[in-house]
Subunit: 170 residues, 2 copies
DNA sequence: TTCCCTGCAAAAGTTTTGCACTACT
DNA sequence: AGTAGTGCAAAACTTTTGCAGGGAA
């Protein structure tokens, strides 16, 4: 949409945009909006990009404070909102009451969530995506995003529930 | 699973269990658990069953107070939790920070949510359900429930956005 | 009579906001 | 220099909990 400055975007083998590229996109957004670069923001973004996925704000705060204990939680909340606005992060709400953020620059995926241990696994299923488009279309909607979460028992918890393989015949 | 007391369950043409039947199931749950029937609970359940779907707790409270202004909000919160525990209601969390409840006795459906006006429309798509089972299976999970939400612009908002059909050619 | 339920107020947990000060640009 | 950002504390919101009194079984 903006010609001239186009640059090939580097992707990792997971479909992720490189961290540098993300930082670049953020800088662009920040200057475009007349906002400012700060050490706090750089730190928070860095932690966000390298942390495991689906980090709750509070978890991220803890991680950030390991590197700079002076950071206030309001700053973290504000920066994560900024990341969401700039399209770099996406807000998620799973069953609990906290907000989680996830990188928005990966290939699309949905989530399997274990109701026993809380493990979150990602998956992709293009056929489901296609059917979603079809549904939206049929109802006259213009789709923007979606959220698909499958709740159940993960393989490990299933194993724990049955310590011995069911070899006995009742 | 419980023989002897079986009774044919009445369903409406939307796949809903009748209100009487729900009240009966709730009474059963209440007495089984040694709990008590109260006027407040009866009122809240009645409002819940007849109200539009996806009511936020606060909305339900307002509705309830129209009929009995003395009801405390803690009672509503507690009763809705009771309904969820008894399997009559299901908790939902859409984008916002409030908890919503929905009748759990209808045929399964998912949601289309308008990001502009907040309208929620329901839909069913068995082919998506089947693919979900397949995904869970492939990853070794035992599925319990799922949640699929499609976010976009509803037909009405789409219309409002384009007051005049795009007849002009730039 | 027992003890579950209610309503109120206070507490808890998460996120937002107001403000004085700091520090990017 | 001008103004957005920060850290702190207080406020806002939603939901839960403690408790004394009331009422269902």
């Amino acid at each position: 949409m903006r010609a001239g400055t186009q640059r090939p975007v580097a992707h990792t083998d997971r479909g992720e945009t490189s961290d540098d590229d993300v930082q670049r996109r953020l800088s662009e957004y920040i200057s475009k909006k007349g906002l400012r670069q700060t050490p706090q923001r750089r730190l928070i973004v860095d932690v966000f990009l390298h942390a495991g996925r689906h980090l709750a704000t509070e978890e991220l705060l803890a991680e950030v404070r390991k590197r700079n204990p002076a950071i206030g939680y309001a700053t973290v909340y504000r920066t994560l909102r900024l990341l969401a606005e700039s399209g770099i992060a996406e807000e998620r709400h799973f069953g609990d009451s906290v907000t989680r953020y996830e990188r928005a620059d990966t290939e699309h995926h949905d989530h399997l969530i274990c109701t026993e241990c809380g493990t979150i696994t990602e998956f992709e299923e293009p056929r489901i995506e296609r059917l979603q488009d079809a549904v939206a279309d049929k109802h006259g909607w213009t789709l923007e995003t979606h959220r698909l979460e499958l709740y159940g028992i993960c393989p490990e918890c299933t194993r724990k529930r049955r310590p011995t393989p069911p070899r006995v015949r009742k």
